[in-house]
Subunit: 228 residues, 2 copies
């Protein structure tokens, strides 16, 4: 029997949470390798040499094979039969619709949610400086342009982003959107479809969704139920 | 015989050029559907309804099936047997290394090259305002942090990004980097490995590389050979 996948992650990282939930839902055993980003554990030369040459999480080691990038990891493990077909389809047409979301999100939903979180929560914490209202407004507008697309295009006439049931696309998306809670943004106020969809995603993924988001809930002071 | 893929693209768009080169190298017939972004042809309601709900290029229609996002399109066509294995590997381990690059590039190489191009070339053209030196410097540094990773990590000890021969990873990367020529950035000055690699990519992809970059060469006033 081969050794389990070594999974390097930090639940403060959105794609780390997404893969954590996906692995748990898939009942895939993995060796827990937590990397404390807040302590800069990923910034050492040892980490670069031994763990991940890009000095980021998430990443995996599979019997010596090192792979980074959450979507590439997901596809690799799917090809190895570790991810059930209902979460990441094997039929190429259905798979392409999930891929379309996974590729779309990088420079749109993920980038702008992350920039909002960074501007409103992370940078003030690190620098002690409060961002200007104008700056927050700019990043909020950029994020909401993409939340509009989730609400109006991706969720148009569907319970989940790519169809009638949960796939990895929903899990990746929810983890990005949940991150903005910590910056005190409540996506549910302006976006009724996102609100209902987030509830469905959480229900479909629990108990792992709440485990993965424990720290997010704690920081945001809201708790899992508060805004759903 | 089924109808050829309808390919909607504009050679001013980096991923449009990448897919154009990949399709030509793959000898894949396609119906040429040029979309003039400069005229806002993608911004109409008709385009949104009939062509691509995200109002972007590239995208394809395959016998009525509409798909956006260049990397998702590539995988879909690979699954249909339209892309040769040497360009996008079928063996899942080799494929995961190419996927790792394709996922890495979005928020790193692609984002920062595009932002540099936008700041230095596109915005001044659209607004008539010249960006400050400090702003250009910020975007140049962000881009060079990622060019450093291409030079020192991806190209370390290899002729191409993911191994000893050309794959789609190289084509996507080269098209992003070539875009910065128009903003008068010469990547070859600081990056000797990128310089030599770009030359290999161009040679491996010609005559299609030069066809795809004709407009880039024209705008930058350099010509294909000038900087290689």
């Amino acid at each position: 029997m081969s050794a389990p996948i070594r999974y390097y992650y930090d639940l403060m990282s959105q794609p780390s949470r997404a893969l954590f939930i996906i692995f748990r839902l898939s009942k895939m055993p993995f060796e827990d390798c937590v990397v404390a980003l807040r302590n800069g554990e990923h910034l050492t030369e040892d980490f670069k040499k031994e763990i991940n040459r890009f000095q980021r999480v998430p990443c995996i080691h599979d019997n010596g094979y090192k792979l980074a990038e959450s979507v590439a990891i997901l596809r690799y493990l799917s090809a190895k039969g570790k991810i059930p077909e209902h979460l990441y389809p094997k039929y190429f047409v259905d798979q392409s619709r999930v891929d379309e979301f996974l590729e779309w999100q990088h420079m749109s939903l993920r980038l702008t949610c992350a920039m909002y979180f960074r501007t409103v929560w992370l940078e003030p914490l690190l620098t002690g400086r409060t961002p200007s209202e104008a700056k927050i407004e700019t990043f909020r507008m950029q994020m909401e342009r993409n939340l509009d697309v989730v609400e109006e295009v991706w969720l148009e006439g569907k319970d989940f982003l790519t169809g009638s049931s949960l796939t990895v696309a929903d899990i990746f998306a929810a983890c990005e959107i949940e991150q903005t809670r910590m910056a005190d943004y409540d996506v549910r106020i302006k976006y009724p479809k996102i609100r209902a969809w987030l509830k469905r995603v959480r229900q479909s993924c629990n108990p792992y969704y709440d485990v993965a988001h424990e720290f997010v809930y704690k920081i945001s002071g809201t708790g899992p139920q508060a805004k759903l």
